[in-house]
Symmetry: D2
Subunit: 337 residues, 4 copies
């Protein structure tokens, strides 16, 4: 960590600061520029609070040299993590993961029909929303526990592992037979929930918040990993910008950047990011071309009557077309390596 000292700071003040730092087992190293004095802090600075130091009277600015994430950091774990999904499939290895299904589970008929269709097209997991985070309290909030029941039925029939979102740690008992627990964008920094998930050993699909940096995403992964659960799948799903034609701006560059920073697998959700079904295909292809480990795609047997997020859903036929095209892109990407 590098600390830039304010002009006008006395030698005595600098000495005091360095003493305090050294008392925490961290070394200090001073050097004087023409205009400014800088202190290098050497050692395990992960335990120092950057903002606290920044707030000291004598400090002009602070720069953290080492990344603040450890367990998620590729520097300490050079090999790609491969997340095992109930022994049936993986995310992060050779298999390109595709989690497909409806935004909201609505009925037995619906979820079974979609599950069969996406399996036939090559999806590796079934997704479906039971608990739904909705901006308005007046919107449909999901079938909740009943939705998970229906999802488990579909799992039983098709053999597809299932992915569904959790909104409160108190619901955890309902997720016992769920294969992958999803943490939604709005809960990415619900730290109490992250800590509880760290106590489980379930694969966690962690979505990037609408206004969160990649560093914050990795720090949230770190919360779960610090509890002992290293089965994390990162998910880029778009960030909030000023653009209004798309719901959010899908940050595809997050894929190679996260791969550089971390060993955790990265998937992309083009459905929520754009909010427009006709953009799902091009963005799915772009994500695959950029090296994503998989996709999460909304598929609905009757998007026009879907109880939520209809606009971005594909029909099973459209999904089948996307899968064929994605497969061509993946082959091309492999050929380029």
């Amino acid at each position: 960590m590098i600390v830039v000292v304010k002009n006008g700071t006395t030698e005595r003040q600098i000495e005091n600061f360095c003493d305090w730092i050294r008392s925490q087992g961290i070394g200090t190293h001073l050097f004087h520029g023409d205009f400014q004095t800088v202190i290098g802090l050497i050692g395990d600075t992960m335990k120092l609070d950057e903002e606290m130091i920044h707030g000291l009277d004598i400090v002009e600015s602070v720069k953290r040299i080492s990344d603040p994430f450890k367990s998620a950091n590729r520097k300490f774990h050079p090999d790609d993590s491969v997340i095992d999904i109930s022994g049936k499939t993986t995310v992060g290895g050779d298999i390109f993961a595709v989690m497909a299904g409806p935004c909201s589970i609505e009925s037995e008929e619906q979820i079974l029909e979609v599950a069969r269709a996406v399996k036939a097209s090559g999806a590796t997991m079934l997704r479906g929303g039971a608990f739904k985070p909705r901006t308005s309290p007046y919107d449909f909030q999901g079938l909740r526990a009943d939705g998970i029941e229906l999802l488990l039925e579909a799992k039983k029939e098709t053999g597809l592992p299932i992915v569904t979102e959790i909104m409160s740690a108190t619901h955890l008992p309902l997720f016992e037979d769920v294969d992958v627990i999803q943490v939604g964008a709005r809960n990415m920094q619900n730290f109490e929930l992250l800590k509880e998930l760290g106590k489980t050993r379930k694969p966690i699909l962690l979505k990037r918040g609408l206004a969160n940096t990649l560093k914050e995403l990795l720090m949230s992964a770190e919360y779960i990993m610090a509890g002992g659960n290293e089965n994390i799948i990162l998910c880029e799903r778009g960030v909030r910008t000023f653009e209004t034609y798309t719901r959010n701006t899908l940050d595809i560059s997050a894929v190679p950047m996260l791969h550089e920073l971390s060993h955790l697998p990265v998937i992309v959700d083009p459905s929520h990011a754009t909010g427009v079904s006709r953009l799902v295909k091009p963005m799915a292809l772009a994500a695959a071309a950029a090296g994503a480990n998989g996709l999460m795609i909304e598929v609905h047997n009757n998007p026009k009557a879907a109880l939520c997020d209809g606009p971005q859903s594909l029909t099973p036929e459209q999904f089948d077309d996307v899968m064929k095209s994605v497969s061509c892109i993946i082959d091309a990407v492999k050929a380029t390596k």
Copy 2:
């Protein structure tokens, strides 16, 4: 709600859409422009899902005419809400509310000393963090239950009502004697938490999320109000932008805009917004000038050793100065009315 129909849509398709809308007890009204056909939906469209309609094949765009919030809406409640705080003070009426205290509660000595100081300077409530949302799992997470105990002691001694943040509904029993429960920016859309708070009758201080619109803030208030708890205090605390000199960008225009949209009181937190203690005073004055109903300000008896968020804390002396200046501004604002 106004629905713009895509070019190329057949009369039959439009007819089907209108039938479906009318089957929900909502009227339709068609008109044809030179280039485009538009359908007006008339009635209680609050129950319609804008995004779902937007997703229909025949729909080019949708515009909601009425605001999607009802209980929080000034249109239906023209008079300012005045929130009673345990019979000791109010927020939203004639009293300018000032919630002051340390970011984190650290010790009995600290919280008592700060409590006495801020009371002497005219604060109307004591704030202090027991549960702390920190980006990193390696940072200090707060004294938690012990912190609330210390806060209650300070309340007992000074008589100041207390404000502290909740991070999980499972902690609610610990908040029984807390006067105002704070929902932090990162939990503004933790809907399961909001629903639980809707079941209480405690005043809730709801902070705007870092990347949330005013409409979303009001929708989150609506979640709590829909549960029957109408004691909501809104808090502007800065939004995330590209600017890096300040931690966030304090959106002071949110104050008059929220007053126009809603009857709920609005306070401002200049400490977290800027992250720089020397900006707290000018921004506190600006907030008061813009018509805020109060302020939340961090005060620490020893900011340099604070375990968290030190940079933005004021000393008791600085806080006293801010209070005197704010008081001049409030008098001036009253004189201008």
Copy 3:
């Protein structure tokens, strides 16, 4: 255009407003909802100023139904535009355009070496900066007129059409033999410059501003087209967000969205968008997969000593590798259609 009238507006006021609108040759159509009155304006509303109407006392909000761009609008020109580049190549047709070269032209040796290299790898045009927009007045500002001379030499030797940026209309005479004139992100709304470019018939490469919406990009294209120059190539190059690992956030979804809105070709600049050379390849592949009509890529024969923007430049060897990979992706995309 749809105008939502404020509650409390009198019949008389509405009548006056409608008269004023009709006096401009535009029809009006009233309808009354349960809570709100709405007026539909029918006709050539392109000439109405949305913000001006929004400012009227009786108006609560305004929604433009038709897009405000006409010449650039796919609705009125369903077929893709193919821009001819001096009879030597095209952008927007079957050819995948690749403009490659150094950020800044530094010397004859440099530009010739790079030109030969990128031609050998399959670039269809040579790019190079002569006039450089730099944030600091103390940074290298480009070779200016001398840079264009060197570029023309490289054109002569290699036969590659050349692309270079203009920063002021007063420099136009220097661009006589330039094949494509680039308008940089910071000048996207330099309307006086756009008007002057509208008087030429040169192909214009119009880059999206760092904080500009797609609608604003198309309105800037419209400025040039309104002058009679329809040879516009749009370029996505990343938008400004809160993320700091990448310089900007490349908005790949702009590619299919612009293709839907407009008939103009769309290329992508992954070099400037990310500011990180090791992200250029994955983002180039992503852009190709999403359907871009081409790429603009920085190539430098010695990136480590480049006078500007070195970090994002590729070596000729790296560029050759990117070209081979992009070609695989393009074949795959064609196969998916």
Copy 4:
């Protein structure tokens, strides 16, 4: 400047880098952390290009310690600059500057009527748009040269110095008798224009771009000052965010922050920032309370018929009320010092 070296870099590579830096007359200072090596660059690093160094293979990250602006920097000019306006008034000293007038000049009658009214209410300068930057080529583009003529008439009659916007350096001759030349937000990084303005000695009102940081604003001021013109007035006018209720988000914290970074005066434009006339008063008061040196406010004698930007204009009566209130706030602010 601090350079963090990538892991795996050889001693030889570091040596080469340091040699190259030293060859530019800048000292180097190495220190080795547990995980990372850092090089301090000591001397006049203003001439080094941060991004170029960041792009070197061996470099992980770069931090500039000294601010890249020099002439605008308060460190080197501790006293507030006071800008003289044609000997008639000042900006930055004891006078609170108020520039008021219509967004667009429309007629002799209009500008004279507004000029007389704003003078009577205490405005210190008259503003009016002759050249108008409009997003759409189909919107009113201003009276241009004729508008400046009308403004000069109003100046003659009222004695008020005048402020108007320039959009191209080729128009400079028309600005000979203009007292303050305004550079609009969209031209803040039109560097060729800034350079030309640096050759004049006219006071320049430099507006912050919609997506520009304070550092970039100061670098643009630096462009003008590097040419020898030190008469710069900075203007905050809102930045682009995701919020939609207001046109832009007025960043009031820019006022105290710019005062800390620079000696140049700072004014605020609440009219354009919010785009809503009823927010102009509270935001004007907030700006004054935060320590702004002045305001720019739109006033129109008939806002409902204004040819542009009507919604944010005040009537002369409303402006008079704002002036009275602002005056109360300024007195209160003085009392607090």
